[in-house]
Amino acid sequence: MTNGISNFGRLGIEKLSRLGHAGVFSIRAVFCSFTPPLKFSLAIKQIWFIGWKSMGVVCLTGLFTGMVLALQGHPTLRKVGSEAFLGPLVALSLIRELGPVLSALMVTGRAGSAITAEIGIMRNNEQIDAMELMGINPLRYLAVPNLIGFLVAMPLLSAIFDVIALFGGYLVAVRLLGMNAGTYIGEMQSYVEMRDIWGGLYKSMSFGFLIAMVSCYKGFHSRFGAAGISTATTQAVVNASVLILVWDYVMTSFVF
């Protein structure tokens, strides 16, 4: 019994200590982002890697999310005689929630995992140690460009997701289900406000911060060997995805 309690306590302390480590890591990365020398060329390379290279998967996910939302929403609204509100339903769901969250989850899987693996391999091959011994701060060189990359790319990807998804919804609602195009778009315009759009963009930016920090932290602290890197990558994706969903709830409570 006492052993069980002691193990539980040890586990709790270990988790808290890791959380503290991750917090200090994030604070140091943020601090490095605001102090020179800044690596602009590396940041631009990461914006391209995270943003441009995730476009395909984000567009595809967005298209089908919008389509299925319209397909599911239409019969439900028809039951209560409110088909006219399909446009606002699709738009608000996408702009406030699904756009930021789904695009963040997609980017976590595509770019976050790749970044963890890359940094993990650098840690394994002692490249990070070599950098430290040269007097070069690895955080500044590896974490900061990724942080900037995610902060810039995520809101853009989320916005693109929203536009493509709205188009997907339009295709199903107007072309497939025969809804009036004017009603679909007109009602959408009446109900969607600028604060919804800004809220979605803030959310996606905060998700970008979470993905960057989790991916980089896991890469920097990966264990040795192929198994160590694979574990770090899996943990990065799982932890970032869970954090996104939890933080989404917190953000929704405060922003909207």
Binding site: Q127, A130, I136
Partner: protein, 248 residues
């Protein structure tokens, strides 16, 4: 120059270093030998604070590495070159970019001067024709020479070599040791070399320190070491499977 004083380090219940003490004077070239897994590389990492000891001190030019600030540590590290076992080249950069990297990042030298300095080191290690190749496109020996060029371009006063000849064929291995000897003599560098290449390294170092069961059991000239009557040293040098060293 470098003083290691009663250094202890363990991982869980496994004590790897159990009171290591060693002194390396300025300009001296010391070989650190011992069984695989005896903690030689670990000891080397303590000298640049890549690892911190459980107990004991490491002093570099009378500065205790555990007590100096981050800024002082950085400045000290910039005077120490470290040649990693696998070279630790940045695989996203070419050989030239790897060698020029520390100068580009740490100095404000004009690009032409950086190029001149990097090319001079690449020529010294015989890699003038491999500048545009990536680490994955070159052999292990070339990667180690490129790493040496990257270390030398920072003009260190001390170089720590972590098994620089492991995995190389005998000819390349011998040429690497000759290169280290030439560099040590030309630049009057202080050096510690961790190696299993006993025959070759005994010709180029002034002293040999042997790490056994977590302690330095000998720190003497190669000639003294070869004439030692200590059964552990004798077994290690001859490579006999029978003797006091438990290798399983």
């Amino acid at each position: 120059m470098i003083t290691i004083d009663n250094l202890w380090k363990s991982f869980g219940s496994q004590e790897v270093l159990r009171g290591v003490s060693l002194e390396v004077k300025k300009g001296e070239f010391v070989a650190l030998v011992g069984m695989s897994g005896s903690g030689k590389s670990l000891l080397l990492k303590h000298l640049v604070r890549l690892t911190e000891p459980d107990r004991g001190r490491v002093l570099v030019e009378n500065s205790d590495l555990a007590l100096i600030s981050r800024h002082e540590l950085q400045s000290l590290r910039s005077r120490i070159g470290y040649l990693f076992q696998n070279g630790a080249l940045f695989d996203s950069m070419t050989v030239y970019e790897n060698v020029a990297f520390p100068l580009r990042e740490k100095t404000r030298l004009p690009a032409a001067v950086i190029r001149q300095k990097a090319m001079a080191q690449l020529e010294l290690v015989g890699l003038k024709n491999a500048t545009d190749k990536y680490p994955a496109q070159i052999s292990g020996g070339m990667a180690k020479r490129a790493a040496l060029a990257r270390t030398l371009v920072q003009e260190p006063e001390v170089i720590l070599f972590d098994e620089p000849t492991t995995g190389l064929d005998p000819i390349v291995s011998k040429s690497m040791l000759q290169l280290f000897d030439r560099i040590h003599k030309q630049l009057n560098l202080t050096g510690i070399i961790v190696t299993h290449e006993i025959t070759g390294v005994f010709k180029i170092v002034e002293k040999v320190a042997m790490l056994y069961q977590g302690k330095i059991i000998a720190n003497e000239s190669p000639a003294q070491m070869q004439n030692s009557s200590d059964p552990v040293i004798r077994q290690f040098l001859t490579g006999d499977t029978e003797g006091p060293i438990q290798y399983r």
